[in-house]
Symmetry: D3
C-alpha cells in the first residue's frame, strides 16, 4: 500500500518476445522475454531518477500478468494493476537488425485485458494526489473503452490540478493517421504537456514547418503549457511560456532503440517534477535517452550518476 | 507440389513457449519456442515411421505462422496451410515441473487464424486420395466454424472411402464435458477409428467400466471399426472386429510428457496404413510413445530403428 | 513509501552465483545470479501468500546492491535497505549435485555491508507497527555488530507488542555450535516463536529426545509461545499453548533444496498472521516448502492457489 | 514426392560448427550448429523468393545427415539426398571476428559421403524437367568422382534443354588455382550462366581487365549466355546478349558474410526463372545479398516483401 | 618442460560434441564441446588425486587440436602431443537420454592425426622414467600403425621396468570381438596390470565364469601382476598375488556415465603409485568413479577431499 | 614440476564476472566467468608467442582458486601459486557497453589471498633463472604486504641478473596518484624495462611533454634500460639506448578492450627474450594488442601465425 507517487502513468505493458542477437523470429529457438510498454517505461525512467512513480493498468491474473507486474516492480515503481480473469496478456514479437533489414515488430496485443479497463476500476485519488499524470497516444488506440478511459483519466487529473502529460506516440500498426488525429486532438483540452515526434506532428496532425513552428503552432492552437518536439538524432526542442529550449542528442552506440522516447519523456518529467527548468530537463532527457540506447530491452536501467556523467562528458573508455 | 500423402491431418498448431528446465513462466528470462499441435504431432510421428503425411491448417501470413510451417516441414511432412492476413498465431505457455508442482499450461489461442478455417479453403482431393484422415477433439472445440469444418472434412473423407481416425483429446481449458460430448458424439457417425483416453471416455462420454467395456460399448454403440483406449502408464487396449488387443506401456524416463498420446496415435496409424495388424500397430505405438517421453518438445523425433530397438529391448546403457 | 507491513524481516541477502545444471564451479563458463538470503526468502514466501512484508538490511550502493534490492522487489515485498558506500556485497557460490557429490556452498560474505548495520539506522516504527518481526540465527553470526543489532531489534519489537519469530538456522561454516549456543540463547527472552531443525536443537542447543520432547523442553525452558521443530522429509511438529500439532512433508521432486526451510517459515507466519490456527499454518508451511523444492533458486515463487492445490492433492500430471 | 522443381541444385552441404559471438574455436564451450552449403544456399534463396527448388546430394544415414536434410527442408526446398551407410558428414568450423582477426574456416570435409556420389544415383528426370540446374566450383573440387559427376549432370541438363548455371566459387583450401582452372574450364561447354567473382576470374582463370572486360571475354570465349561478375561491396555486372547490366551493392551492416554470394545467385536465378530481365534480376540479387549479411548462418531467410522493401528503400528504423 | 611424470598415458582424445540436456543431435541448435579420450581421462583422474601425469598423443596443428591440448592442461596434466599438419581432429557426437532411448554415440574419428603416430615420434625417456605407463584397447583399434605403436610403447616401458597398465575397453563400433581378441591378446605379454569389464572378458576374450574365475584365469594364463574385473554397478574385483580384493560400487545419481571406467582406473593407478595396497586402491577407484557420474563430461573433476568424503560417507545433503 | 621458464610474472588474478552482451550487472541473469589479471595476461601472451612462462601468486585452496589456476594453465603457462586456507578469491564485475555508457568495473578484491603473499613463500630460484621477471603497478597497490613483496622480488631478480620489467598500470579505484607515485618510484631502482601509458606518466608521475619527452625523461632520471610509452590508438613509442622506436596501433574492431595493454607487454617481452630488437618487438606488441581487442575476455588467445599475419597485412575478409 503506497502513500503517494509524484508521477502516475496509465497504459498497456506487453510481454516482449525477441530472438537474441540478430536471429530471425522465423527460426530462433529461444525468445528473450521482457516487460515492455510506453507508460511503464516512462514511470521507470522517472523512478530511476528519483521520482516516486506508479503505473496503472489492467492485467490478466495468470503467470504472464504476474510476470509483467513483477518485472516492473524490480525497477522500483509501484505497479498497481487491476487483476482480471478476462482478457489476455498482450505480447509483441521483436526482431532487431541493422540495415537494410531494420527492426521489425509483430504485434499480438488484440483483446488484451487492459482493453477493457474503465476509469472507475482505478484509485482516482492517486491521480489527484500526483504531481503529474502521464499516458500516451497508444492507449486510446487500443480499444474504444480505453479511448474513453483515457479521456476520463486525463480530465480527472486535470480537474484536480494534476499536471497532465501526453506523448502522442503514433503507431501505424494500430490505426491510421486520420483516426489518430480525431481521437487524440479531442484529448488536447485536458493536456498540459505534449511530447510529439516532429514526424508524427506532420503525419498525424497535418502540421507543417520546422520544429519551432510545430511547437508554437501546437502550443498556441491548443493552449499547452509545454510542447516538446523530438527529432531523433537531431535532438529535441521545447516550447514553454512562449520561449524555446533546445538540446542536441548525445552520441550513442545503439544496442536497442526501443524505449528511447519513453526514457526521454520519463527523465524530462522527473526533472520537471523535481523543479528543474525546461532546459535542464531537456538535457537530462537527452542524456537518459542516449544511455537507454546502449541497454537491451525497453527499459532505461540507469542511475542519476550515470545520467550526470553523460551530461558532464565524464565517461572514459574504461572505469577501473 | 506434393503428389499424394497416405495420411492427412487437420488441426491447429501453436507456438509453444516454455522456460528452460524447471524455471517459472513468471520469472524466466527466456522461453524456448517450438511448434506444437496434436494433429501435426500425429502427422510427424507417422512420417518419421515411413508414412508420407500432410498437415492441413490455416496460419497467419507473418513470421510466426511461417515459423510454425517451417518447423513442421523440418520433420519431413508436407505442411500445407492456408495463409491468411486475418487472425493471429495461437500460442501456449508451458511450465514443466515434478511433483507437487506438476506441468501447467496457459493457453493463448483465442482468435487464432485457424478458427476461421472453412472446408472449401482446402484441397479436398488430398483428403479423398489419402488412406487415412485424422483430426482430434481439440479442433471442433476451438470455434463454431471449426466445429462445422471438422464435421464437413470427416464426412468428405468418409464418403470418399478414406478411413477416418479421431482422437477424442478432451481439454478442460477449452470446454466443459457436456459441451464436448454434444459436439463430439455428433461426429461419431463419420469416424472409423476412435482413440480415447479411458479417463475421457468416463468424464466426457459418461461411460463406465474397465477399458474392455469402454471399448466394446463405444464400438457397438457407434459402429466404429476400431476403438483404442489409452490408459497412460497402464498401457493401451484396442477393440477391433470384436476382438481385443492389448499392449503395456514401455518403461520410460519422462523428460517431456506433452505429445505422448499423439506419438502413440501417429505410430498406430502409420503401422495400420502399412498393413500391420492391430496388435503390431499397438506395439509400435507404445514404443513410439515411450521414446517421445524422453524427447523435449511435443514432437516424436524418432526413427523406425529406434522404435524397433525399444520393441526388441535391445537398448543398452551406452552404444559406442 | 509503504504504510505498514504485517511482517518485517531483517538479515543479509547475498548474491548467489551457481553453475547451471550439474556443472562444477571449477570449470563452469557461466554462473547463474540470484538474490538469496534466509530473511528475504521468508518475507517473500509470506508476501506471495498475501501478507504484506518488508525486508530490512544494509546494502552497498553499487550495481550489486541494487541488483539484490531490485530482484527482491520483483516478488512484491518492500525491500528497504540502508544504502552505504562502505562494505561489500556478500556472495556465495553454490554447486548442486546428486549423491554422492551433494550440494556444496563456498561462502564469500565476510565484510558485507550488512555486517556494520546498527539498529538506529532503521525505521524502528516499522517493527513496532508490524504484526511479526522475523530474523534468523544467521544474522548474529555475521559480526559482533550484527549480534548486538539483532538483540536490539528483537527487544524493540518485543516491547512494542510485535510478535517476534526466529529461525535458529545454524550454519557450521559461520561459527561453532558452542559459539552459536551462547549468542542465540541470549536472544531467547525476546523471542515468541522459535523455528528450529531437530538436528540443530540437538547439535547447537545440546538437547536430546524426539521432536515432541525438543519442542516442549524449549517451550517450557524459555517461555516461547510457539516452538516449531522441523525434520526435513519427516515433517514438522509444533508445540503451542501446551499442545502438539504435526504435519508430514509432502512428496516432492527436488530441483533446488536451498530455501526450503525459509519457505516453510514464511508460509507458517503468513497463515498465523492471517489468523489461522497452528495446524492449518503447518499444513500451508509444508505445502509451500514442497513447492519450493521444485523451483530453482532460493525463493518460493508460489501462489496461494498452488499451495492450496498441493494441500487438496488436486495436482494432476498436466493441467491443460 | 514432389512433382517438378523449377530449380535443381547439386552439391555438398556441411554442418557448420561455430562459437557464438566472437569467441574462439580454441576455447568456446559451445558451438552453434547449422546446415551450410553453397548449392543448398542457392536453392533456398530461390525457394524463399517463390521458385520451387530441389537440392540433390548424398548424405550419411545417421543423425548428422538427417539433421542437414531436415534443416534444409525447414526453408521449404525439397531436400532429396541419396542416403548411404558409407562416408561421413562433412563439417566446417567457423570463427567470425572483425579486423584484424577476420573470419577463419577450418574445413573437416574430407571423405564426406557426397564425395562418392555418382550421376546414376540421382533422378535425372528432375534435372531434365527443371528450368535451371545449378552447381558450383566447390563440387568438382571435392573428389575425382564428384568432378566426373558434376560434368555428367551438367551435360545431362544441358542436353535436355535445361538452363545450366554455375558459380565458379574458388576455395583455396580445396585446390590450387591451376587445378581449379583445368577442371572448371572443361565444364564451361555445358554451362549457360556463369557467376564468378572478379577476383576469381583473375586468380583462377588468368584473366585481366575490369569487370566489363572479364565478362565479355568469358562470354565470348566460352559462349556463355550470361556472365555475372561479382565484386563484393562494389556491386555486380552482368553481360548478356552482348549487353551490360550493372547494379550497386546495397549498404548493409554485416552480421554474417558467409552465403552472401549464394543468396545473390539464388535470387538472380529465381527472378530469371520468373521471367525478369537481367537488370531486374541483378537488383533482386543485390537486395537479397544485402539482407543475407544481416542474418546469422549461411542461409538467406528472407521474404519477397523484404527484398522488395530493400529495393524500394522503404525500410525505416523501426516498423511498429 | 616437465621433469618426470609418475604416470604416462597414450591414446586418442577427441572433441566430444553433444546437445545440452536431452535434446537430439538431429535438431539441437548448439553442441557442447569437450575434450574426451580414455587415456587422457585416466591421466587427469590420477593427476587430480595427486599423481603427476603426462598424456602422449598426436594432434592436428589447428585450433581444434590446440583446443584439445589446452582443455586437458586445464586439469593439471602435462599434455605433450606431437603436432602435425596431417590428419584431422577426431570427434564424436554424443546424445544422452534415459530409458528407453539410452545414450548414443556417433563416431567421426576416422583418419584422425593420432592414427599415424609412430613410437619414434615420442620421448621414450618419459615412458622409461615413469612409474606406470597406461593405454587402452581403443588405441590399437584405431589403425594398423597405432596397433604397432601401442605394442612398441608397451614393450619399451616394460623393458625399462615401468609398470604397464591396460584397460581392455572394447568398442563394438570400432572392431569385432574376434579382431579385438587377436590384436589385444598379442599385447598381453607386455602388460602388468589389466583392467577389463566382465562383459568384455566374456564377449571378447571368450572367457566364462564369475568375476573371480575371470580374474584368476586371466592372471594365471597371461602372467598379469594384477587383474581388475569391473562389473558396473555391481562393483569391482581385483586379483593380485593370488589374492582377491573386492569393492562395491558407491550409490550415485548419474548425470553423465561416460568416463566412469577411466576415472576408476586413473584413481586405482594413482593410489597404487602412491603405495596403497590393492584394496585401498579399489576403494578410491570406486569412490572416484561414483563422483565422476555426477559430473558432466568425460573428465573426473574431483579432489582428494571429495573422494575421501565419499569413502567416509561424510556427505550430507547440503554443506554450508 | 617445470624446469625453467624464460618469463616469470607475479601478481593477482581475479575471477571476472560479467553479463553477456550489453546487459547490466543490475539485471543480468547470468555472469560469464573468466580468469583475469594483468600479470597472468602478460605471461599468457608471451607463452602463446613461444616464450615459456610462469605465473606466481597466492590463491585460496577452494574451487574458486582452483578455477583460476586451471583456466590459466589451459593457455599453456605454468601457474604455480601458493595455496592457502586464508583470504578470499578476488573478483571483479565487469559491464561492457558502447558510448556513452562505457565500460564499468566494480572491484571486489579486498582481502584476496594474494594480499598476504610474502617473498619467502615463493621459489626464488625461478626468478633468478628466468630471463625476465615482470610485475605491474597493480600489485603493490593491493596491500602493504604486497608492496613489500613486490620490492623484494624485483630486487631479488635484479641482483640475480634477471631483467626486470614493470608496467605502471595505474588504477584509480585502488589508490590516489600521489600514493601510487610514492610507492612506485621507490621501485624504479630495481626496474630495467618500464612500460607506462602516457596518461599515467602525466597523472601519476607528474611528468609533462610528448611521448618522446616522457620516455627520455624517465629513462634518464631513473636509469631504465628501456622505456615504452603507450598511447592507446595513437600507438607506442620506446626509448632504448638513447634511441627512439615507434609503432602505430593496428586498426581493430574492439570486442573487449580489457587486457590490451597486457597483450602488448607480453608480446613485447616475448620478442625481446627471443632476441628481437626493440622495433621488431614493438611491431609484434602492437599486432598482438590489436588481435586481443577482437577476443572476449582478458586473455590474448593468439598464435604466432596470426600475429605475423596482422603484421604482414595478409588478412582477407574470409579465409576458406
Amino acid at each position: 500500500m503506497k502513500l503517494v507517487s509524484d508521477l502516475v502513468t496509465f497504459g498497456e505493458t506487453m510481454l516482449r518476445l525477441s530472438p537474441a542477437g540478430n536471429e530471425r523470429i522465423e527460426t530462433a529457438g529461444e525468445f528473450e522475454v521482457r516487460a515492455a510498454g510506453a507508460e511503464s517505461n516512462v514511470a521507470i525512467a522517472a523512478e530511476r531518477l528519483g521520482t516516486p512513480s506508479t503505473w496503472l493498468s489492467k492485467l490478466p491474473d495468470n503467470p504472464l500478468g504476474r510476470r509483467v507486474a513483477g518485472e516492473l516492480e524490480r525497477y522500483g515503481i509501484d505497479a498497481d494493476p487491476v487483476w482480471t480473469e478476462e482478457g489476455r496478456q498482450g505480447t509483441y514479437y521483436l526482431e532487431q537488425a541493422g540495415k537494410p533489414r531494420g527492426t521489425n515488430v509483430v504485434y499480438d496485443r488484440a483483446n488484451a485485458a487492459v482493453t477493457t479497463a474503465e476509469a472507475d476500476e482505478f484509485d482516482l485519488e492517486a491521480l489527484r494526489d500526483a504531481e503529474v499524470f502521464f499516458t500516451s497516444g497508444i492507449t486510446p488506440a487500443l480499444s474504444a473503452t480505453l479511448a474513453e478511459t483515457t479521456a476520463t483519466l486525463l480530465k480527472t487529473a486535470s480537474r484536480a490540478g494534476t499536471t497532465t502529460a501526453f506523448d502522442l506516440n503514433y503507431r501505424n500498426k494500430l490505426w491510421s493517421p486520420s483516426e489518430a488525429k480525431e481521437t487524440l486532438t479531442a484529448l488536447f483540452d485536458s493536456i498540459d504537456v505534449l511530447v510529439v515526434a516532429a514526424r508524427d506532428a506532420r503525419q498525424v496532425l497535418d502540421l507543417e514547418g520546422d520544429a519551432e513552428t510545430l511547437a508554437e503552432t501546437l502550443g498556441t492552437d491548443h493552449g499547452f503549457e509545454t510542447v516538446v518536439i523530438t527529432r531523433g538524432s537531431a535532438g529535441a526542442l521545447a516550447w514553454h511560456d512562449g520561449e524555446y529550449h533546445e538540446h542536441d542528442a548525445y552520441e550513442t552506440e545503439t544496442v536497442d532503440p526501443i524505449g528511447t522516447g519513453d526514457a526521454f519523456t520519463g527523465a524530462f518529467l522527473a526533472r520537471r517534477i523535481d523543479g528543474d527548468g525546461v532546459s535542464s530537463a531537456l538535457e537530462y532527457a537527452a542524456a537518459t535517452a542516449a544511455l537507454k540506447r546502449t541497454i537491451p530491452g525497453d527499459i532505461a536501467v540507469v542511475t542519476p550518476a550515470e545520467v550526470e556523467s553523460v551530461i558532464g562528458e565524464q565517461t572514459s573508455d574504461i572505469s577501473r
